[in-house]
């Protein structure tokens, strides 16, 4: 993979006081995103506003589309036009994007989508927080596929993770998501934007061979096919239908096997390279608390309480939520008395932890239906109960 430095035009180097939403936009600009298509939706709109305000001075396009179906379709078109592209949304908009997220997966198109989550289902809680789209991001479009999703817990991480998301999206040619939430989106904190030369970006894996030999979906050694862009004379074809290496539709079980296996395996086989988790005091832990996003910050108080009470609590923070760090969760399950999984939904990632724990330890969810963050006492209570 070819690494390049960020284009200084998009990088607002310095120490800023930004909320998570604005930080997402700055991260995108720093990562070289020059095309943003979106539709207003609370609590994510500020990202689109910031991008539309800044892009005229950087050189690029902001277009407010007629809905999220169109935003997502425009993103895929623009990515094939050679641009780095992003959008932002929240629950209801995310649901509308699902159709073309499937197309982006099938066409193996780099796109970055930030979801500033709010409480659902349906219109739910437009202005209040939630972590309720964590399964939707993984399974929301029809068919079998894999995506990458990261979960930031601060405005600084909104900036950092968008850049990381762009890099992962370019490397693996897959939709990559930054799954934040209303709390982080509207939380204002210090955000350090480094100088452009310190921001490392990955260049798209451009095909450079003979024009008549180009095969859009022939996996390279690292499983990722080379990409070209429209207008460069390759006269290639791609489709949302099950397709062969040439990008031509082939409607049979054999080609479906080639196609789907590839879409899934390119992420699964590279999962160790993609997954990032943060561990703390794991070695002698009797309880491990697994969390992500804003909930990791709320849990800090509960962990302090528990440690004060003499309970050995370790923590795992999921930076990458998808692909799920199943190996590590499986490995540690044998060593601890319980996994505690607080999250702002009625139990989503806890199911994944249960799956990986394989009955080797108890898995205790601490659900919160959304509209606010946990009371740390509830998490502490769950820790105490796990030891009974």
């Amino acid at each position: 993979m070819k690494k390049v430095k960020a284009d200084p035009k998009g990088v607002l180097t310095g120490a800023h006081y930004l909320d998570g939403d604005h930080s997402l936009a700055e991260g995108g600009l720093a990562a070289g995103c020059r095309f943003f298509a979106g539709y207003p939706i609370t609590p994510s709109t500020e990202t689109a506003e910031r991008f539309s305000e800044r892009i005229p001075f950087v050189g690029g396009v902001f277009v407010q589309m007629e809905d999220e179906l169109a935003s997502m379709a425009a993103l895929i078109g623009a990515s094939w036009g050679g641009k780095k592209v992003m959008t932002v949304t929240s629950g209801p908009g995310f649901s509308l994007m699902m159709e073309n997220i499937g197309l982006a997966c099938m066409m193996e198109t780099p796109v970055v989508i930030a979801n500033v989550q709010r409480g659902g289902p349906s219109t739910g809680l437009p202005t209040l927080t939630g972590q309720q789209d964590m399964m939707q991001v993984r399974w929301g479009s029809h068919g079998d596929y894999e995506i990458i999703a990261l979960s930031p817990d601060s405005p600084q991480e909104c900036f950092d993770f968008i850049i990381e998301a762009f890099n992962l999206s370019e490397i693996y040619r897959v939709p990559t998501f930054v799954m934040t939430d209303e709390c982080v989106g509207h939380m204002t904190e210090k955000v350090i934007i480094p100088p452009a030369e310190e921001i490392e970006l990955v260049e798209r894996k451009w095909y450079k061979g003979p024009k008549d030999k180009y095969l859009p979906y022939k996996p390279d050694k690292d499983m990722i096919p080379f990409m070209v862009k429209a207008g460069d004379g390759y006269r290639f074809h791609t489709t949302g239908l099950t397709r062969d290496e040439r990008g031509y539709p082939v409607i049979n079980a054999e080609c479906q096997d080639f196609c789907v296996r590839h879409l899934v395996d390119k992420i699964k086989m590279n999962a160790d390279k993609i997954i990032k988790i943060e561990e703390d005091q794991i070695d002698d832990a009797e309880i491990i608390l697994i969390s992500y996003g804003i909930t990791s910050r709320v849990a800090i108080k509960a962990i302090q309480q528990a440690r004060k009470a003499g309970i050995k609590v370790g923590t795992i923070r999921l930076i990458t939520v998808w692909p799920f760090p199943e190996k590590r969760i499986k490995e540690l399950a044998r060593k601890v008395k319980a996994y505690i999984v607080p999250e702002i939904n009625y139990g989503q990632i806890v199911l994944e932890v249960e799956r990986c724990a394989q009955g080797q330890t108890q898995v205790i969810g601490v659900p919160h239906c959304g509209g606010g963050v946990h009371n740390p006492d509830d998490i502490f209570k769950a820790i105490k109960e796990a030891l009974k």
Binding site: G59, V63, A78, G231, H237, Y248
Partner: protein, 290 residues
């Protein structure tokens, strides 16, 4: 003639087709192929750089066009060809982006995208093959089915009002609007040529028989007869008021070029407006090439 000799006969538009994908899936008597021929002919005559021509299709019978043309081509999701094309065009304004799709795709499921792209005067050419029904799925009623016609989901006849696509296109802001039948080969070619030669949102509707479904269900005869019927029922009225273009069941078809005007495109407006408001600090974007 020996078999080998016959096989060597080449289609004059072969260089524009993916011959490794022929034969195509369209039914004998379907008009989509003739529209593709007109399109290929228009490309040849207008001498555009074929490396810069991109075809985007949605889903449906006409949606398959993207898979047969030897150009950069995208077969996208149902109804989303227009916003996909919008992203492509904005990412690389050098491209000539043509959306080739059916009435169900463009005016049914994609209707909202269609009117908004026209409103923005997005620099796109929309070739809409109208066969009055959802053919790929078996002949269901569409937003374009004339009242009184039968369809598989309107088994007792359609009682809904239908869209007049040129009227919709003009009202939404299109700068070029034409309608022909598939048998108006040279007229369709000329319209596509004209659209290729200008900037802005161009809309070309081509009325086409769906021989297998619409024609059979309504007992309208075979493809060739229906093709000829539409042609004979058509009346050329260039510049006709688009409010008068409703299509009734087996009634008169007013065809022609209705709108051909100049108006700054989305990117023209964006560049002009932001340069005016922001001055030198504005970074002009992808100044369009003609």
């Amino acid at each position: 003639m020996k078999e080998e000799e016959r096989l060597e006969e080449k289609s004059p538009i072969e260089n524009l087709l993916r011959m490794d994908r022929i034969p195509h899936i369209w039914c004998p008597g379907c008009g989509i192929g003739t529209v593709v021929t007109s399109f290929a002919e228009a490309l040849r005559k207008s001498e555009v750089d074929l490396d810069k021509v991109v075809v985007v299709s949605g889903i449906g019978c006409t949606g398959r066009v993207a898979g047969y043309v030897k150009l950069d081509s995208f077969h996208t999701t149902h109804g989303r060809a227009v916003p996909f094309a919008t992203g492509l065009k904005l990412a690389n304004p050098e491209l000539k982006v043509i959306v080739f799709s059916g009435d169900g795709d463009i005016a049914g499921i994609g209707g909202n995208h269609f009117i908004h792209a026209a409103r923005r005067n997005m620099d796109l050419i929309i070739i809409c093959v109208n066969n009055f029904n959802y053919a790929m799925t078996g002949g269901q009623v569409a937003a374009t089915t004339p009242r009184g016609a039968n369809a598989s989901t309107a088994p007792y006849g359609n009682f809904e009002y239908s869209f007049s696509l040129p009227y919709l296109a003009e009202a939404s802001g299109a700068t070029y609007v034409a309608r022909w039948t598939a048998l108006h080969l040279r007229r369709v070619t000329k319209s596509i040529q004209e659209a290729l030669g200008k900037r802005g949102f161009s809309f070309i509707e081509v009325i086409t028989p769906c021989v297998t479904l619409y024609a059979r269900r309504n007992r309208l005869g075979d493809g060739l007869n229906l093709l000829k019927y539409y042609y004979d029922k058509s009346e050329i009225q260039h510049g006709a008021d688009t409010r008068t273009l409703d299509i009734s069941y087996q009634g008169k078809l007013i065809v022609g070029k209705f709108i051909d005007k100049e108006k700054p495109t989305f990117l023209d407006c964006m560049n002009e407006h932001l340069a005016k408001v922001l001055g030198n600090k504005y970074q002009p974007y992808g100044v369009s090439h003609d």
